[in-house]
Subunit: 336 residues, 2 copies
Amino acid sequence: MRLVSITDIAKKLGISASTVSRALKDHPDISNETKRRVKKLAKDSKYSPNPISQSLKSNRTTNIGVIIPEIAHDSFAKAISGIEEIAYQTGYTTLVCQSNENYEREVVNSNMLLKQRVAGIIVSISQDTMKSDHFRNLIDYHMPLVFFDRACDDIKANKVVIDDAKSAFHAAIYLLERGYNKIAHFAGPKELGICQRRLEGYRAALKKSGISINDQLIRFGGMSEEDGYKSMDGLIREKNLPDAILAVNDPVAIGAFQRIKEEGLNIPNDIGLVGFSNNRITSLVDPPLTTVNQPFYDMGKKSAEILIRIIRDGIESVGTSTFTLEAELIIRGSTK
Amino acid sequence: MRLVSITDIAKKLGISASTVSRALKDHPDISNETKRRVKKLAKDSKYSPNPISQSLKSNRTTNIGVIIPEIAHDSFAKAISGIEEIAYQTGYTTLVCQSNENYEREVVNSNMLLKQRVAGIIVSISQDTMKSDHFRNLIDYHMPLVFFDRACDDIKANKVVIDDAKSAFHAAIYLLERGYNKIAHFAGPKELGICQRRLEGYRAALKKSGISINDQLIRFGGMSEEDGYKSMDGLIREKNLPDAILAVNDPVAIGAFQRIKEEGLNIPNDIGLVGFSNNRITSLVDPPLTTVNQPFYDMGKKSAEILIRIIRDGIESVGTSTFTLEAELIIRGSTK
């Protein structure tokens, strides 16, 4: 017999799963009438609120494993908070591992979580992950799996992302509209899907504005401050200064920011600068950074919601989709 | 038969454990002569480098559990990097849980890690942890346990800390020497040991300088930016402006920083500001913050080294001590 899930109850009553969950817990925000209807249906359909009953069935724990590139990265920390919010509401505990942007560690973490019999795994891949056998292995073991932000393009799984190409396109168009026309792109690793798509958006914006692509202004590297610093340093040493930079993420932008300031150049007048993620730090530096706001907290929540649905209802019933959340450009002082 | 540990080999040869570990791995920094001596003794004494053999003995995994208040907190992220550095070198994997500064979650995490049969646990307690039964329970189960930064004062275990009272004392003395004499202290929660000791240091500095303590200038609260913002807002609304603030940590300092700037006051001329931790962000704000540098990366490394020694050699052989690491005041633009 397939167990009835919160989602089933929600669908039958035409309300959201979180309303059902809160109604079952007598949350004060939920009306008494809704509570009554939810509880009646839960009772009638023999709904069991305890995930342990199901984990026993599958011989798995009630822990959710999370593998992220770096815990110190503000974006991933926000995603973890979103994941934990949902996990805690639904009786799961969260175990976090970091790959340190390293493929081998990601494989170790992935195998370890499998052995630890976690109920499901949420992943954002490392910057040097080019093989996906470890994820295929998880799927072979029927381990519920959700990717967010940095997904493995060749693995069929649920993915929670933003439209990276479109976001980068809009950011570059904004720079062009503000009068910048020699725009560099600090692009991250060539192999990472999100970086490829951001680069694609950058190229599309220049093309649309009739500006030819200058390959010298596209700098590949890693995803850290150090990488941004190095890329900027390269342009300065080559005496090939752009009038604006679109960075692949905020750490890279902050690294560039520091090198620009060291050089005594003015942001935004000598060089305009746009980041990507809306990390906390971007609003505190002077001038504050224009950046693409990626809803990492919501991405974490959404990933956990989908994962728990897969754990409870099975992947066959949930299916595999890509969920694209909205990202928007936040305009601050680092652009004219 | 008790297994020979790296520490045993190190002692016998009069070299450090990390030299032994690196010698066994043919690390290029180690001389061939040392490698030869280490390998010979390892072979003769039947040293087994694989922690799995020992985890099988004790029926525990080769995972190290870490419970910290907040993953997004730069200090704890640094500590995790230090822990992982050592764990990775010695064949352990790290599982991180956050308590979200919440006692109940800390208990859930602690029990869960015990059930997951981790090999040992490293903890920095939440700001509202006032009971310690969950840690006593771990000790009853002979779970290796090390505290860092925020330790449980009434639990006998290994602790890796800084001298909080002395560090706060020196920071307050520095402010007094720079001509500030109406110094507020944003003190964190009353119950947390590190906060009590920092407050103690602040009081001692004022007392030494013959300044009477003004209780209105000591503001208790949490450990977050929001708390710092609120404390500053309180002083502004009470029209009781200090000429300097010593904050219990950097997030609290950054919260105060924002409220001071909103008010149009100048840092450091109207109000001097000193943080505590040396989070990344403190060097990037304008003016950059004077702050106490806490060696979180080293605290993490030290905690992991001790934990692994306990896992391998037993707590009886390691004993329980408090390790006090050096902290120093880093002087930047937020003080005159």
